[in-house]
């Protein structure tokens, strides 16, 4: 406990008077998913742009409106809200505070609101590529996915993944099986919440013992359970791989990077930072931001350690598919896709 | 061992339950403590047993002062206690209960019940107990449980045995057996402190009687003193022990029980085709050793016990199949045998307990609302009427002594117009003063013309109250006899002998098989007129 006392100082950034705020949904800022990514975007803005930030974590639905109201009291320039659950509360706050700006992640209004910018993703596009890659990388001919709770932001991953596997089968005349999701019936395997990681681990073990060797968990922190199961399987001599979602798991879940085939990335952090930057520069624009393969809002992460094991052909095919999707020649559809 | 208590006082807060008590118990002496409910007998014994720390005073054993920080110390010093409320773990076996606290173990703390079983058998053989070490305690009759308590003390080699109201829940036979055991123990050199409200047995067995009133020793007297003397000493006023009730004037049969049969869940027939009638204005006492179907009989009439067959008609109206509420509403007053479990919600105020089964009836309840004023008024009257000792009707019933709790139940059940009054063990554990009072109220109800059914394992009580006596044996009525039938005949009938044979045998053996010494009750029976049958 010794050392020099720091000099009094105030750090001056580019926009010290700009206040950026964020309200999470009930998942909280450590949900390993969209709350966390969005929060990272705001944090980056704090670092890069020198803005002031304020955060409010919601414990339950009851907190949304209260939190937003609190933010209005804290004179926020722009408030980021995360998730469709906050849609009504955000619209309400926006109407009552026409001079404040808002951005809402993963939600789209039927009619645009002048001071709310929706940030949404056509995740199925990237998940499609992941499905294709998974099918190609599978040695057992079986791949799997499971979700946390059956909601569109989850099932859109699963739909895209299913289509990607189907595309591979169609193109290659193979019969790679997908476990855990039936796109037609919209029914499959879910861990039931975003908490019970050991349940996620058990689900993944069941997948592996049913023959799957590439698994994509779409379940926030429960994905770590899948990671643990895959790690364990590999230590036991099996060759299972993981596909991460939301962020590049090779970087954000380094415990499992050696099993990380690839990730389906939604660049929410970047989108959030961009929106704030634009607003700070006085260039707020309420038209929805739709993350696609084209604008790199969604992407398939690099294969990292598996790069060498994926054939050049496969990589080319994936590139081609990506191009087709961008050009609109190939449509990846999900009931949950943005309209 | 010789025991001496010197100047023992025990205070609860500012209230002294024992005040400067001196007591001497000689070697191999049976020393009896007499006193009203709440006089402080149990408190004194709890002090002696190390459960309470005395506020003042000292305890000497064989002349040496001792101090007990807990029952463990008292036990180690050779004191054993059988509590008023048994201290047995109901779900344990006899052997487990006896081993508890003084276990013999094999390596690693593993229980060795074999040793305990052997000890139990030894003691059982010595005193002629019939106790199965592997029986589960809750399945045993009260009398046997009591023996388990005594064995517990003996196994621990108690030189001084405290018996706190051991006979309150025993049948006459069991009581006689217990008194016999006490004599044997005494013969083997054990000193016994004996607490009881039953003057007859106190006089029969004690060497010295010490009377306690309001926490103070009043006097020590010899067992030759008459019951009236003892009662007066205890209560501090003249007590009228003889009820001197007028002869009954029975009217028509109001309660008719036909072929009543109860089979319990385990498949045991607890009531087997029971038939009897009770007339208006008469008291039928149901006598019998506990566990012969008395509980089932009263509960079957009330409706808490499912009936397998038969009928119960009250003034021509069938009661079987009706809900308890309907039965109560058709004019049945019911005093259950265990007041604190079935008779009272002890956490409720006295006021509320006084309307426990009347709360939804006028004037106390209307629709779903209750009239608190009426309830309060009712409490004031009843408390006065029945002389319930309390300073506030809003006190919880748990704050009352046993006798006063019983008065509350009795007051409630007698407070409305009845077509039938049923009371089980109406005076169990109650002191003589209160017994006198409660008995008078029961007779008064009879004299109003209500048929009354008294269930009691207490022969004194049965003979005191009954106009007719029905004896239950193994779920069957083993005869209905006049109220003045002798103890001996009743005792034999309770053991399964038919009424006629019993009468013969009693005549025959009267002189040489006197269980306890002659009783005032016996005298009283002579000037009572026989009724019924």
């Amino acid at each position: 406990a010794c050392g020099a006392a720091p000099e009094e100082s105030s750090s001056a950034g580019k926009y010290p008077d700009y206040v950026g705020c964020i309200v999470s949904d009930s998942g909280g800022f450590d949900d390993q998913s969209f709350n966390e990514s969005s929060y990272r975007g705001l944090k980056n803005a704090e670092k890069d742009l020198g803005i002031t930030i304020k955060e409010a974590e919601s414990k339950s639905n009851a907190d949304f409106a209260t939190n937003l109201q609190g933010m209005m009291g804290a004179s926020c320039n722009l408030t980021v809200t995360v998730g469709f659950l906050l849609a009504d509360a955000t619209a309400d706050a926006a109407a009552k505070n026409p001079d404040s700006h808002f951005a809402i992640v993963d939600n789209q209004y039927e009619k645009n609101i002048d001071n709310v910018k929706p940030i949404i993703y056509d995740t199925a596009q990237a998940a499609f590529l992941a499905g294709y890659a998974a099918a190609a990388a599978s040695e057992t001919g079986t791949v799997a996915t499971f979700g946390g709770i059956q909601i569109p932001t989850v099932t859109i991953f699963m739909d895209g993944f299913a289509d990607g596997v189907a595309k591979f089968n169609e193109d290659k005349g193979e019969n790679v099986k997908l476990l855990g999701w039936d796109k037609k019936k919209q029914n499959g395997t879910f861990s039931g919440d975003f908490e019970k990681q050991d349940k996620g681990k058990q689900i993944t073990k069941n997948f592996i013992s049913a023959g799957a060797d590439v698994i994509m968990p779409v379940a926030g922190p429960v994905g770590k359970g899948a990671g643990a199961a895959v790690a364990e399987a590999n230590k036991g001599g099996e060759k299972a791989k993981l596909i991460w979602v939301d962020s590049d798991g090779y970087l954000t879940a380094p415990d499992y990077k050696e099993y990380m085939l690839t990730s389906v990335v939604k660049t929410m952090d970047k989108a959030v930072e961009d929106v704030i930057k634009a607003d700070a520069e006085g260039k707020f624009d309420p038209t929805p931001y739709v993350g696609t393969l084209e604008n790199e809002g969604v992407a398939l992460a690099p294969f990292h350690d598996f790069d060498s094991t994926i054939g050049e052909d496969t990589k080319k095919e994936i590139e081609a598919l990506k191009a087709q999707i961008i050009s609109g020649d190939l449509k990846v559809e999900s009931a949950a896709s943005p309209k | 061992m010789k025991l001496e208590l010197r100047g023992i006082s025990k205070a609860f807060g500012s209230f002294y339950a024992n005040k400067n008590i001196d007591l001497m118990v000689d070697d191999a002496q049976i020393h009896c403590l007499l006193g009203e409910n709440g006089a402080g007998k149990s408190t004194l014994m709890n002090v002696l047993y190390g459960l309470y720390q005395p506020t003042e005073g000292e305890i000497l054993l064989d002349g040496n002062p001792v101090e007990f920080s807990g029952p463990g110390d008292a036990m180690a010093a050779g004191i054993g206690m059988v509590h008023q409320h048994f201290m047995l773990v109901p779900v344990f076996t006899v052997a487990e209960n006896i081993a508890l606290g003084a276990e013999t173990t094999k390596a690693g703390g593993v229980l060795d019940l074999q040793v305990t079983r052997k000890k139990i058998r030894e003691i059982s053989d010595r005193y002629g107990f019939d106790v199965d070490p592997d029986a589960v305690v809750e399945d045993l009759p009260v009398g046997v449980q009591q023996r388990v308590e005594i064995i517990k003390a003996l196994v621990r080699e108690a030189k001084i045995l405290i018996l706190d109201e051991p006979t309150a829940v025993l049948t006459p036979q069991e009581t006689d057996e217990l008194l016999e055991i006490m004599r044997q123990l005494k013969a083997n050199g054990t000193s016994i402190v004996f607490i009881s409200h039953k003057l007859r047995e106190v006089r029969a067995v004690s060497d010295v009687i010490t009377v306690i009133r309001r926490g103070e020793v009043i006097d020590s007297v010899s067992p030759e003193s008459s019951t009236t003397e003892l009662a007066n000493l205890m209560v501090g006023r003249a007590v009228e022990l003889n009820l001197n009730k007028a002869p009954a004037t029975p009217g028509e049969a109001v309660l008719q029980v036909k072929d009543l049969t109860v089979v319990d869940q385990a498949g045991t027939t607890t009531l087997d085709s029971v038939n009897f009638e009770i007339h208006a204005g008469e008291i039928l006492a149901v006598a019998g050793v506990q566990g012969n179907g008395q509980t089932e009989l009263t509960e079957a009439i009330l409706g808490t016990q499912p009936v397998t067959g038969g009928s119960v008609k009250l003034a021509g109206e069938e009661l079987v199949g009706k809900s308890v509420k309907q039965v109560l509403r058709s004019g049945v007053g019911f005093v259950p045998e265990d007041r604190s479990v079935h008779g009272l919600v002890t956490e409720f105020s006295i006021e509320e307990n006084l309307v426990l089964d009347l709360y939804d009836r006028a004037p106390f309840g209307k629709g779903i609302s209750m009239n608190l004023d009426a309830i309060k008024k009712n409490a004031t009257t009843q408390i006065k009427d029945f002389d319930v000792r309390t300073d506030n009707p809003l006190n919880p019933a748990s704050s009352l002594s046993g006798g006063n709790q019983q008065k509350v139940v009795m007051a409630r059940e007698l407070s409305r117009d009845l077509k039938l009054f049923i009371a089980s063990q109406p005076t169990r554990g109650v002191d003589v003063g209160s017994i006198e009072f409660l008995h008078r109220r029961i007779v008064a109800e009879r004299d109003k013309g209500t048929p009354v059914m008294i269930v009691s394992t207490e022969l004194d009580e049965v003979m005191e109250l009954a106009d007719r006596i029905a004896v239950l044996y193994k779920g069957k009525i083993n005869g209905i006899v006049p109220g003045n039938t002798s103890r001996e005949v009743l005792g034999l009938m309770m053991a399964g002998v038919s009424a006629e044979e019993a009468a013969e045998q009693a005549e025959f053996t009267k002189s040489d098989n006197e269980p306890v010494e002659a009783t005032p009750a016996g005298e009283r029976n002579e000037h009572q007129e026989g009724e019924g049958q």
Binding site: D182, D198, N206 | V263
Partner: protein
């Protein structure tokens, strides 16, 4: 009631409930699973990777096997009615067989009707055990406390506290065993609060339990955010307990992985169930504990220190549950997150009651829950038409059915929940 003095004169017929349930089950199996069932075959694999020898796959033709099982069950049901007429009830082992037959036929029915008609019985059972581990430890804690007369609603908090501390200590020390020990201590600390407030200050035990859950959840959540998240590398990267394989034995199909290929905590679980059972029912200690939980005053009059016994038992319970909680972070998952115990403490509480306050009963109840939970997952994997949310309800519905239909009234330790105050 002192009916033991009486001989049964007439005997009454045993309750109809068993016979009715058996008949209903038999008819369902025969008609719905059998006659109306799927004619595909259901395949059950017995082997898992690393087994010593191969067992053949069990294959049941769906319709045919269920018709046979249905007939068997109908037979048992008929027999039970006949027995009932004679005044006898059905032997417990017959009921057990009927239950097993029912589960088997249900499995055959769903598997033969699913998209994939093969499931691995080995992983179904192994997974059931894994899901049950924290439940077993939690319920043992419940049994230890309640047997001594202290209701333990705080199991959830003990599990969570154990999970958090194990993660923290194992990360800081890089030693999993220290993490395990620390988890036990954390559980004991939670227990200490429970004991202090409920025994010394005579606060209602349920209040303390409920509040402790909130408190532990709050503290771990707070420290997770303020400490762990600040530097996960340092504070939240627990070293794991190794899985110890017992050579040869672990290669036995089905049973091997369950019994002989476990982490230390897994082995501890079997040991703990046995020790707690043996301790409670065969030793001096257990006799005293049970006496304190049933009739503290009686125990007191025999010189047993009631509150001291309670205090140590509650503490011991905390240690056990804490260790159970460490399973989350030292075996199952690689790091701690908020609410990682996910309500398992409450399921454990249910297992205590369901298992009738008996360690083995609680163990079996926990296993049943784990089985239903894992089965549910496997059935969604092979593709059932039932919506996922209804599949997820299965373990809970099974528990309701088992408790209401089969177990019914259960009698716990008589003094549980009551403080013992001595004058």
């Amino acid at each position: 009631m002192t009916s033991s003095t009486l001989q049964p004169a007439i005997s009454v017929l045993p309750s109809k409930k068993t016979s009715i349930i058996l008949s209903v089950i038999a008819v369902i199996v025969f008609l719905c699973f059998g006659l109306m069932g799927n004619s595909e075959s259901a395949h059950f694999q017995l082997n898992s990777a690393g087994d010593a020898f191969k067992l053949p796959e069990l294959v049941f033709p769906g319709k045919a096997s269920n018709i046979v099982i249905g007939l068997l069950l109908l037979g048992i049901a008929a027999y039970s009615w006949i027995q009932r007429k004679k005044g006898q009830s059905l032997a417990t082992w017959m009921i057990a067989i009927a239950a097993i037959l029912f589960v088997l036929s249900f499995l055959i029915w769903v598997v033969s009707g699913a998209d994939i008609t093969t499931i691995s019985l080995a992983s179904l059972l192994a997974g059931a055990v894994v899901l049950a581990v924290p439940l077993v430890f939690g319920s043992l804690s419940g049994v230890l406390c309640e047997r001594a007369g202290v209701v333990n609603i705080a199991i959830e908090g003990q599990l969570l506290g154990g999970a958090f501390t194990a993660a923290l200590v194992s990360s800081l020390t890089k030693n999993a065993f220290l993490g395990l020990i620390a988890a036990g201590i954390a559980g004991a600390l939670v227990s200490l609060v429970l004991a202090l407030f409920s025994i010394k200050y005579v606060v209602n035990q349920i209040i303390v339990g409920v509040v402790l859950n909130v408190l532990v959840s709050g503290i771990t959540g707070f420290l997770f955010t303020t400490v762990m998240q600040e530097d996960p590398e340092l504070f939240n990267s627990p070293v794991h307990l190794p899985v110890i394989e017992i050579p040869l034995l672990s290669a036995i199909p089905v049973l091997g992985p369950i019994l002989f290929k476990q982490s230390v905590i897994g082995y501890l679980m079997y040991l703990a169930v046995f020790i707690v059972w043996f301790g409670l029912f065969k030793t001096k200690w257990g006799l005293r504990v049970r006496a304190v939980g049933e009739h503290p005053k009686a125990a007191d009059t025999l010189g047993i220190k009631v509150n001291r016994t309670r205090f140590w038992n509650v503490t011991l319970g905390g240690i056990v549950a804490g260790i159970g909680g460490s399973f989350f972070t030292l075996v199952a998952i690689d790091s701690f997150t908020k609410e990682i115990s996910g309500g398992r403490g409450f399921i454990a509480l249910a297992a205590v009651i369901f298992g009738r306050w008996n360690p083995i009963g609680a163990f079996l109840a926990a296993l049943l829950f784990g089985f239903a939970d894992n089965l549910q997952v496997i059935l969604t994997i092979i593709g059932t038409p039932v919506p996922s949310q209804f599949m997820a309800m299965m373990p809970y519905l099974v528990t309701i059915f088992a408790v209401a239909g089969l177990v019914g009234r259960s009698r716990g330790p008589a003094a549980a929940g009551e403080p013992y105050v001595k004058e």
